[in-house]
């Protein structure tokens, strides 16, 4: 096994190990009732945000395109989840919540994926900041359209209306325009969320270390060189974009079915930005970092609830300071010097193991 391969294996093992370990600890805490009510309520959203962050990292960190509309895909998933779940009950009287949840998550992923293809075709023709602004525009369009969407069930059939609410008399509304998706029966569970995280990790980490994933990274590092090597840039950018959209749609369905209502204002541009912050703070291309920062930054506001008035202020200041300190050459040099002894230790350690291992 080569050095690079081993490094990657260790990284993947640590990533999976941490997620699984955290899950086991939390499950035990839930069983022992050693977990606060508010934290318990946060478990499913944390899962959803982790999936959002990891999937966005695929687009930004690995394919190198800035997407500012990721929450749009999440909202598609959330709405699809609410509708499909309501429809499954109304039309087929499906009561098993887990089966229903799995089916709705799949539906959410598929629909978000279809939108990912439709949006990706125009978006990926653009570059850099223009691409970013168009993803932002699409996110806003999705939010706007959902705002005037009406879906209801009557006699087991789905009824759609757009802009005007024309529904049969005996209708049960599932999506009610600006009021959002209403009367959802919350069926999301932490366990399903955990499995979804594992699937996300499996998809993203395995994809990245495969032929397609390398092609995706090549298009990020140097577009023209990748094309000259016979790598179709559009195809692989699209692959990353759509995969991320599918995962975001699944996360959306999970998130939407965790509460009784979903409103369009939950998925604004600001929400896309939040996920972007998870990704950037966790490190571009660093999946484990995305997981940690998504978890930390989702839990933190809850912990700081007593400082509700100041928490966003503090968050803003910390965000600015972290960005400056990690990106300014001077502060970086200072930090490097401070951590030099630690790094030296680590390096020496690594060299020794490398010497003992099978380098060739």
């Amino acid at each position: 096994m080569t050095k690079a391969k081993r490094k990657r294996l260790i990284y993947n093992l640590v990533t999976f190990g941490l997620v699984i370990g955290a899950f086991i600890i939390l499950e035990n805490m839930i069983a022992a009732k050693a977990i606060s009510r508010s934290l318990k309520g946060q478990l499913v959203p944390i899962c959803a945000w982790i999936i959002m962050a990891v999937s966005l990292n695929l687009v930004i960190g690995f394919s190198g395109e800035l997407s500012l509309g990721h929450a749009g895909f999440m909202s598609i998933g959330a709405y699809t989840g609410a509708v499909v779940s309501g429809w499954l009950v109304a039309a087929f009287d499906m009561q098993d919540p887990i089966l229903r949840l799995v089916l709705t998550i799949l539906a959410g992923g598929i629909l978000a994926g279809i939108f990912g293809v439709l949006i990706g075709i125009p978006v990926l023709r653009l570059r850099g900041d223009y691409l970013a602004i168009v993803t932002l525009a699409f996110g806003e369009i999705i939010r706007n359209l959902v705002n005037v969407l009406y879906i209801g069930t009557a006699d087991g059939n789905l009824h759609f209306a757009f802009l005007n609410k024309e529904m049969p008399a005996n209708v049960t509304m599932l999506v009610d325009g600006a009021k959002g998706a209403v009367k959802i029966k919350p069926i999301s569970t932490f366990e399903v969320g955990f499995v979804l995280i594992l699937i996300t990790l499996l998809v993203v980490l395995n994809l990245v270390n495969s032929r397609a994933g390398r092609a995706i990274q090549a298009t990020r590092d140097n577009r023209i060189a990748a094309e000259s090597m016979g790598v179709s840039v559009t195809k692989y950018k699209m692959m990353a974009f759509v995969t991320a959209a599918v995962l975001a749609g699944m996360a959306g369905a999970l998130y939407g079915l965790n509460s009784s209502t979903v409103v369009p204002t939950q998925f604004t541009f600001n929400q896309s930005i939040n996920v972007l912050v998870f990704v950037v703070l966790g490190g571009l291309g660093n999946v484990l970092g995305s997981i940690i920062s998504a978890t930390f930054l989702t839990v933190l506001p809850e912990v700081l609830r007593e400082f509700a008035d100041y928490r966003m202020l503090v968050y803003a200041v910390v965000l600015i300071l972290v960005m400056i300190f990690t990106n300014n050459p001077t502060t970086r040099a200072i930090a490097d010097r401070l951590f030099a002894p630690v790094k030296k230790l680590f390096h020496k350690d690594r060299r020794e193991t490398a010497g003992g291992g099978d380098v060739k």
Partner: protein, 285 residues
């Protein structure tokens, strides 16, 4: 316009090497690459004009000329980075008209870049593996699900990448990040990566730039070795005349976008037009 159309229709015929630099070589075979009246204009400026060149199957040819003569533009035309405004490029008799960079690459053109364009954040081996991209066939789901085909192909790919890196003795660097390599090694890696695409024609854009005389000499031997081992044609742009004269069987001199001379090293060295292009007009008296 009509003239261009007419020209396009006759490119469908089997081309005859008409402007080969070294006529006696590979004369009976379809040339690997042939350009016919190739030209491109940027806003009225003819950057390359009436460029005719034929390269035989295992020929090493040089493209030289003063700075700004349009050499790299020729490479960009051959690899479809630019669409020519006149004329045609034929690869193994096939017209590249309307093709993309990717399609040109799949027909067997590979290149290196004057300003190095490696995949900086990826390892050396991964860079080579991108070169192997189109020879390794498994789809996205095989990769995600790690089906047996994935393991088999990855193993094969690794072996092939190592063989290719061995050309320049770079196996030890396989796990380094490409962007962290020293300059000379980066240039060599670009050549390895281009070779990985299994090309029929390799375009080298100033491969010896920034190398010391010793390294240049080594590179010269390696270029010849690559041609013999892979049986491919090579076209190189270079300012180092010792390399060009030493390794190229045919040389083409470009000035202000036009070919001013073609021939063997000796012929070029004796050509007054070439001397004038490089040194300026000799003042009478």
């Amino acid at each position: 316009m009509t003239q261009k159309k007419k020209h396009r229709s006759d490119t469908k015929m089997v081309p005859v090497p008409s402007h080969s630099i070294v006529p006696e070589r590979d004369v009976n075979e379809i040339p690997v690459m042939e350009t016919r009246h190739l030209g491109i204009e940027f806003g009225g400026l003819k950057a390359v004009d009436d460029f005719n060149l034929t390269i035989g199957k295992t020929e090493i040819a040089g493209l030289i000329g003063p700075n700004g003569a349009g050499k790299t533009t020729v490479f960009n035309l051959l690899t479809k980075v630019y669409e020519p405004t006149s004329g045609a490029v034929l690869v193994n008799g096939q017209d590249l008209h309307g093709m993309s960079i990717v399609q040109a690459s799949r027909l067997g053109i590979a290149r290196t870049f004057q300003n190095i364009r490696l995949f900086d954040k990826m390892t050396v081996e991964e860079n080579v593996r991108i070169g192997l991209h189109n020879q390794i066939k498994y789809d996205m789901f095989t990769g995600i699900l790690r089906l047996p085909r994935y393991w088999k192909q990855e193993k094969h790919q690794h072996k092939r990448a190592m063989e290719l890196l061995d050309i320049f003795g770079m196996q030890d660097l396989a796990d380094e990040t490409a962007g962290s390599l020293p300059y000379g090694a980066q240039r060599r890696l670009e050549i390895v990566r281009a070779l990985a695409t299994d090309p029929k024609l390799l375009l080298l854009d100033e491969p010896a730039a920034g190398m010391n005389p010793h390294e240049t000499e080594e590179l010269m031997e390696n270029i010849a070795k690559i041609r013999d081992q892979f049986q491919i044609a090579i076209l190189l742009i270079e300012h180092d005349m010792s390399l060009v004269m030493g390794v190229c069987e045919g040389i083409c001199v470009l000035n202000f976008g036009k070919i001013i001379a073609k021939g063997t090293a000796d012929e070029i060295q004796a050509n007054p037009a070439v001397i004038e292009a490089y040194l300026g007009k000799k003042k009478e008296g």
